[in-house]
């Protein structure tokens, strides 16, 4: 009886130690439906959202855990994930323009930032935070999802990702927070965003329109007149800035579509290999345990039986031989894991070679466009400064042209 109890416990232990892999963070619910707007909102109810390219995070430390993963893949994911989040949010009808931005957007009404905590094709864990232009943090949360194998099927660009539950969970949290805002809140968010941008472009003019309160939130101290010419100039720059970001987003979306198939395949095949490897490991471990239990049982029978009858001897020998064979096949099974690992590595190398040039291309276009624009913005700032100085006669020290600079003053 004790022998059977012993074997049963070992069996339970084997199941326990070879269960599903765990990832950090609380898993999002399954089959999360996106919150959809029930009506069309006016402009004053639609907040623009800037989603910053995600922080790619760090690869897992363990050699086995990072097998088949690479920094290049993470870099690709750091762009892919926010773009799919953008598509997920766009469909809800709750938001104005949603843009992916390479850096923090000083004039954003709502800014979303994220970091990839873990991603191996089978699981995705993201840290996401959202805050509005007033510097008020909406939330900071960790979202985790381990995809089922069937979730890798039936995916579709822009609409259905393997981790769609996770994307819907983030979009729904943003929507829920947005729905808590009053119309006054939204107006304030839009005004603060505009004034923050105006301050960036014309600090001499708009430097004192905003201030921080005790909670480090930004509040409006003054508002420009409705027909303020300088604000009109700033708006004309802002609209160009937005158009530039839209162009950059065109490249991001092209990147997303270019990456889609390879990324979907990589995630699916890698997950299958991981599942297979996990099954093989479990089977091998089970055989080894059963073999060890059989040998231990044979020893136990010998120890507890006084009469060494022929029958008992035979049972003992069968158990020992059978146990040894089970252990042997367990080790043989383990060898298959090595092959799985090689396949996973190959998948990683292959996908890396596919993703890397795409990242380089989109990053190159982004740098090129933002670099050109930066020069232009410097010039516009200078012109606004000079206009202000001449319109008001207030030529501060700061406004006097720098002699070492030859830029148009």
């Amino acid at each position: 009886m004790r022998l059977f109890t012993f074997i049963f416990l070992l069996f339970l232990a084997s199941l326990f130690f070879t269960g599903c892999a765990t990832v950090p963070g609380k898993q999002v619910d399954d089959q999360i439906a996106p919150l959809m707007a029930s009506r069309e909102f006016g402009d004053h109810e639609l907040l623009d959202v800037s989603i910053k390219v995600f922080d790619p995070g760090e690869l897992p430390e363990g050699v086995d855990d990072r097998s088949g993963l690479s920094n290049e893949i993470r870099e690709a994911e750091a762009r892919f994930v926010p773009i799919h989040l953008k598509f997920s949010m766009q469909r809800t009808g709750y938001w104005g323009a949603i843009r992916i931005v390479p850096d923090d957007d000083i004039g954003a009404e709502v800014q979303v930032r994220g970091k990839i905590e873990f991603s191996d094709g089978e699981s995705l864990v993201l840290n996401v935070e959202a805050l509005d232009s007033r510097n008020i943090l909406w939330f900071r949360k960790t979202y985790a999802e381990t995809a089922l194998l069937n979730e890798h099927l039936g995916t579709e660009p822009e609409k259905q990702d393997t981790f769609q539950d996770l994307f819907n969970a983030i979009a729904n949290d943003l929507t829920e927070y947005r729905n808590r805002l009053t119309s006054e809140d939204m107006l304030e968010i839009q005004r603060v965003a505009e004034l923050r941008y105006a301050k960036l472009m014309a600090p001499d003019v708009f430097g004192k329109y905003l201030s921080f309160d005790n909670n480090n939130s930004i509040q409006i101290d003054h508002l420009p007149a409705e027909n303020d010419l300088m604000m009109e100039r700033v708006r004309s720059i802002r609209s160009r800035d937005n158009m530039l970001i839209d162009t950059i987003n065109g490249y991001y979306e092209a990147f997303y579509l270019d990456l889609w198939e390879a990324y979907a395949n990589w995630r699916q095949f890698r997950s299958e290999e991981i599942a297979t490897m996990r099954e093989i490991k479990r089977e091998a471990f089970k055989r080894k345990l059963l073999g060890a239990a059989a040998i231990a049982g044979a020893i136990a029978i010998g120890a507890t039986t006084d009469n060494n009858s022929v029958a008992t001897d035979t049972i003992q020998q069968v158990m020992v031989v059978g146990g040894a064979y089970a252990i042997y096949t367990g080790f043989q099974k383990s060898q298959e894991v090595v092959i799985n690992k090689e396949v996973i590595e190959e998948l990683g190398v292959s996908f890396t070679s596919e993703a890397k040039p795409l990242v380089v291309e989109v990053e190159g276009e982004t740098v090129r466009l933002t670099g050109t624009a930066k020069e232009q913005y410097v010039q516009w700032r200078e012109i606004l400064k000079q206009i202000y100085a001449r319109e008001t006669g207030l030529i501060s020290d700061e406004a006097i042209p720098d002699q070492s600079s030859g830029t148009i003053k």
Binding site: T155, T247, D258, E261, Q268, V343, L347, S353, L358
Partner: protein, 295 residues
């Protein structure tokens, strides 16, 4: 603006140049001569109707730059030197006196300056719009990647596929290769892809860029789309067809001129064409300052 500039030109033409004058005064004179030349060229070319709108904007941009710079130096001289020194220079008159009549002139000058700056701002926005439009066209012309060329399960060369077959029957058995065909191919269709590869895109980009540099000689931004800038005020002069760098002054380290913008290019060309060695030196100094400022 033109009236203002032409009025200042007549002043500059009569300005004597002596080697004993202070450096800043020399700079004012040198810049004013460059402005005089630019205004003259602009007027002549406008009469000949040989200017494009873009070239005219370039001239105006350069002239505004020179005017603002001269104004800046004059203000410094007025503070640090005597009024008599400033009076001998082609400085704006409106800033000199404090009596009522000249104050009115001063207000007028400020208004004109604001108008000039407004125009500069407006032109700059328009130019940026043009750039954005070209970027949109460039983006639209971008072809999606050939998505069948690269990734497949087990590696691009199929070696890993062999490994899969021999190793894990389950894994290789699942290799349907179907993936997500509908999305990317649909996208390719939307973009009108006709089999052009990424390599073609890169080649086009390179050609475009180098064509721009070639047309512009040592000038402008290096973008083919902006080649109109290459036909600026002094195009066809010594600047055209230059290589990517030039010596800003004999004995000095050569400056990279390949990224010169409109103002830098015209400053450089003005320096190259200036006969007076002192003024030439000052114009090169201005060129250097400008280049350092925009970097």
């Amino acid at each position: 603006m033109m009236v203002l500039l032409l009025g200042t030109v007549s002043c500059a033409a009569a300005t004597p140049v002596t080697s004993s004058e202070d450096g800043l005064q020399q700079s004012v004179i040198a810049l004013d001569r460059a402005r005089h030349q630019a205004v003259h060229d602009l007027v002549v070319k406008k009469q000949q109707e040989s200017l494009t709108e873009k070239q005219q904007q370039d001239y105006e941009k350069f002239i505004v730059f020179l005017t603002v710079k001269i104004d800046e130096y004059c203000r410094i001289l007025r503070t640090e030197e005597s009024e008599a020194v400033v009076n001998s220079l082609p400085c704006p008159e409106g800033n000199q006196a404090l009596d009522g009549s000249t104050q009115a002139e001063s207000v007028q000058t400020s208004e004109e300056q604001v108008q000039d700056l407004e125009r500069l701002f407006s032109n700059s926005l328009e130019q940026f719009d043009d750039k954005l439009l070209k970027e949109e066209e460039r983006l639209s012309a971008r072809q999606p990647r050939d998505r069948e060329s690269g990734y497949s399960k087990g590696g691009p060369q199929g070696q890993a596929g062999e490994g899969q077959t021999s190793g894990t029957g389950q894994a290789s058995g699942q290799d349907s290769g179907s993936g997500q065909p509908s999305g990317p191919e649909g996208a390719a269709g939307q973009d009108g892809a006709t089999g052009e590869t990424a390599g073609t895109r890169t080649a086009e980009g390179t050609t475009s860029s180098s064509a721009g540099t070639g047309e512009e000689g040592a000038g402008a931004s290096g973008q083919g789309a902006d080649s109109g800038e290459g036909a600026g005020p002094l195009a066809g002069g010594s600047g055209a067809g230059q290589s990517g760098s030039t010596s800003a002054e004999p004995g000095k380290v050569a400056l990279d001129t390949s990224d010169d913008d409109v103002v830098a290019r015209q400053l450089r060309e003005a320096a190259e064409n200036e006969k007076d060695p002192e003024l030439k030196k000052k114009l090169w100094e201005e060129y250097r300052k400008y280049k350092e400022g925009v970097r």
